[in-house]
Subunit: 122 residues, 2 copies
């Protein structure tokens, strides 16, 4: 990087950003939810699972819509009429009050989800 | 998967999701913007760069805030007072009207960004 210049900025002004793949606990008794952004009408969070799934008979029924992207690992989300298989890079939009549950996440490695909750609560 | 059951669902009800890492063009004369979600107050898009950067002297000055996550590759975003180095998994929130430009993206491989534009336009 030495010698690279950005107008008046030198490489001494270079800064780093937080990383979504770091600070993974070695032990994960529960799913881990980390809020990355909160602003009016939107909440972005990281979810880390390892073999976790929703309890039998439990369904999420959320007031906000949720856009979900699997960053690492693998998971299955169950809807009332189907099961959606998700691998790294797969994404899905879940409407408000669209019932769903986490049917399975891989037990062998952490599954890292990005979840964007958005819209008016209904 | 055979024999696995989800209540009344069988593996025949298994479906797949779109994937953010696929459909990358082999040739990329311009940055590629793909809208993944549009709803009131939010737009989620994938951006694919390969060696692209903002033109000299060009600054983004956006009416909405933007939360950005680098999924693959590497990039540098220049702000007025610093340059932010981004690698896979790094994320940053850019406020509305916070001037910024893409100073660099790696020329050797595609850089895949997730961009969440949100909030009232101001």
């Amino acid at each position: 990087m030495s010698g690279r210049s950005y107008g008046r900025l030198s490489s001494g002004d270079m800064t780093n950003a937080p990383n979504i793949f770091t600070e993974l606990p070695s032990d994960l008794p529960e799913e881990l939810f980390t809020k990355l952004l909160q602003a009016p009408g939107i909440r972005i969070e990281r979810i880390v699972s390892r073999g976790h799934c929703s309890p039998d008979g439990f369904w999420y029924d959320q007031d906000q819509a949720e856009w979900v992207l699997v960053l690492k690992g693998a998971a299955r989300i169950q809807f009332e009429d189907r099961v959606l298989e998700l691998r790294s890079g797969d994404f899905v939009n879940i409407s408000a009050h669209q019932k769903h549950r986490v049917a399975w996440t891989t037990p062998d490695e952490p599954t890292i989800w990005l979840a964007v909750h958005y819209g008016e609560k209904s």
